[in-house]
């Protein structure tokens, strides 16, 4: 058992009979005050965010940053390349490649708008995907829950709650009892490999 002793405790997990049971159990875990815990289900469950007490995601902030970067980039691209007049000259000085294309003077607002627009959209999309990956810690190649045999059911018909050992309220005996009390079956100790 020397091997097992070296393994770090991840937490306790329990199985629930249905999505509804999982939902109501999650509400109880939330109300108990746990913070570091998660639910696992074969499909998204409507309203689970509230049942878990999750706050709004911060991805939109990263999106906004991406959008602002895109707009600035577009502005710099156009102004550095072509301007020799007006407000941009006042700010940036001369960076001249003032090509006249199709009779449009450099840095006219009209032809610049599609560039502002497209780069803003593009970098907003990049920011959103990047923010999603970073905040969701994706990709995650392994998860301690995979050590548990029963957890295979999570892609089929298994509903699980796992309370992590690093939660402030975690206590081996009490948490096990608590999971049983809120209707969990097959309560198991999950260890990191």
């Amino acid at each position: 058992m020397s091997d097992a002793a070296q393994r770090r405790l991840y937490g306790f997990a329990a199985e629930f009979a249905s999505a509804a049971a999982l939902y109501h159990a999650a509400e109880k875990v939330r109300d108990k005050g746990f913070r570091r815990w998660d639910v696992h289900s074969p499909y998204p469950i409507h309203g689970m965010d509230d049942a878990m007490g999750l706050k709004g995601s911060k991805v939109s902030l990263v999106s906004l940053l991406g959008g602002a970067t895109g707009l600035t980039l577009a502005f710099l691209m156009i102004s550095l390349a072509g301007d020799d007049h007006g407000i941009v000259k006042a700010i940036m000085g001369n960076f001249n490649y003032p090509l006249i294309v199709a009779g449009k003077t450099p840095f006219d607002v009209e032809p610049s708008v599609p560039i502002f627009f497209e780069l803003t959209i593009l970098l907003t999309a990049f920011g959103t995907v990047l923010g999603l990956l970073l905040l969701g810690r994706i990709p995650q190649l392994h998860h301690p829950m995979f050590e548990w045999d029963r957890f295979e059911k999570v892609t089929d018909d298994g509903f699980f709650i796992a309370i992590r050992a690093d939660d402030a309220l975690f206590d081996e005996a009490e948490t096990r009892q608590f999971l049983e009390a809120i209707g969990g079956t097959a309560v198991s100790r999950i260890e990191e490999s």
Binding site: A19, Y23, H24, I45, A51, S60, E110, P111, V113
Partner: protein, 411 residues
């Protein structure tokens, strides 16, 4: 996992007493404004009168048509979220018969509005090409068609929906869904060509194929803004408790936000294509509005109709009800009036210039008191009628089969 055990909320109606003297003020003030505009306008300046009246008319026309669009969409896609606010859309759309009646004064001033009616097609090259479409008989036929269509569709949905309050018959919902698809097609045709005939034809030499979508974008945007405003005010006055929730605000906020962007996208696309191809007969419209002091009105539109509301309701909390959403909705309704003013008022100057021989029109931004009288008058009279409708039926479709789903909405 929402609770489905809750029972349906009791139907409620708007009580006149809770609005105080407001409906009366709307009716009295509106009627007075319209009467002054009629007498003053017709006595002094028929052309100004016709254009101002058209401004007031189109303001309400676009909002009512937009409301019909949301009803049609609700039924066509079998939406559930919009059940609790659908009655408001139905009321606004059902203002169409009154709106048609208010069009009558314009029938007597059509040549003061559309200069092509005064021209001989043989003498005007542009008109000669367009005369199979732009002739008086066909115009009157089309106007009759639009007004009949909008009146019929609006009253159809309202009648069936109110009937369901009595009977609770789910077949009425199915019937409305069946009607909605065909009527949605006719809606697209009607709003597009109504936009062409009533606004684009103010200058018969100009054309833009995106015009119909531009008018539609303003319609859908302003009507959702009105519904946000009215539903929130009703809730503040103590109605719709436990029926209209912050989740509905959120969805309507999202739709309003989307249509703020859609309006700007369509408006700019129309502008960019004309700017790039640089063909005189197409650029005339924008040239008129980008020179002199009209430029500032154009810039006000860019900032006020797009950038400002975009920034105000960009974040999620701003869309979830509250003062910011209300302010944005009210602001958009104001900017919608500016948008239509920006379309109609310069046309009057062009009309006058061309009628005087076309010496080159340099007159800048000018707003006539009759413009404001007509806008206030139309909003006042139709607003008073809306108050009346709110009293006469339940404030939400109280026996719609999907009412409980709508109330339990989660974003």
């Amino acid at each position: 996992m929402s609770e489905h055990t809750a029972s349906a909320p009791a139907p409620e109606r708007f009580r006149r007493a809770s609005a105080g003297a407001l409906p009366l003020a709307f009716l009295g003030g509106g009627a007075l404004c319209l009467a002054i505009a009629l007498v003053w306008g017709l006595a002094v300046d028929r052309q100004q009168f016709a254009h101002s009246w058209l401004l007031g008319f189109m303001y309400c026309f676009t909002i009512c048509a937009g409301s019909l669009f949301w009803i049609l969409l609700h039924h066509a896609v079998d939406a559930n979220w919009s059940v609790v606010v659908r009655r408001l859309f139905e009321h606004v759309a059902a203002l169409f018969p009154y709106l048609v009646a208010l069009f009558i004064p314009l029938l007597f001033c059509l040549p003061d509005l559309y200069r092509w009616l005064t021209l001989d097609p043989l003498a005007d090259h542009a008109l000669a090409h367009k005369s199979p479409y732009l002739n008086k008989g066909f115009l009157l036929f089309r106007l009759a068609f639009y007004f009949l269509y909008f009146t019929f569709a609006a009253l159809l949905f309202k009648t069936k929906s109110v009937m369901q309050d009595e009977t609770g018959d789910p077949r009425l919902s199915l019937g409305m869904r069946r009607w909605s698809n065909g009527l949605m097609l006719l809606f697209a045709v009607s709003i597009t060509f109504a936009g062409f005939d009533l606004l684009m034809a103010l200058d018969h030499t100009w054309y833009s194929t995106m015009w119909g979508v531009y008018i539609f974008a303003g319609s859908a945007l302003s009507s959702i803004a009105l519904t946000i405003l009215v539903s929130s005010l009703l809730r503040d006055a103590g109605y719709l408790k436990g029926v209209l929730t912050v989740e509905h605000d959120h969805i309507m906020g999202k739709l309003m936000f989307a249509f703020v962007i859609f309006w700007a996208y369509i408006g700019f696309s129309q502008y960019l294509l004309i700017y790039y191809s640089n063909i005189p007969e197409e650029t005339l419209f924008f040239f008129r509005r980008n020179t002199g002091s009209w430029l500032y009105v154009s810039l006000v539109l860019v900032v006020g109709h797009f950038i400002l509301p975009f920034l105000i309701i960009l974040t999620q909390p701003a869309k979830r009800g509250g003062k910011r959403l209300l302010f944005a909705a009210g602001w958009i309704l104001f900017m919608h009036a500016v948008d239509l003013f920006w379309i109609i008022a310069p046309s009057l100057q062009t009309y006058r210039d061309l009628a005087a021989g076309g010496g080159g029109d340099t007159s800048g931004f000018a707003i006539h008191p009759i413009d404001i009288l007509c806008l206030l008058g139309f909003v006042g009279v139709l607003g008073a009628l809306l108050f009346r409708m709110l009293e006469k039926t339940d404030l939400f479709p109280s026996r719609d089969p999907r009412l409980m789903e709508s109330i339990a909405l989660k974003n």
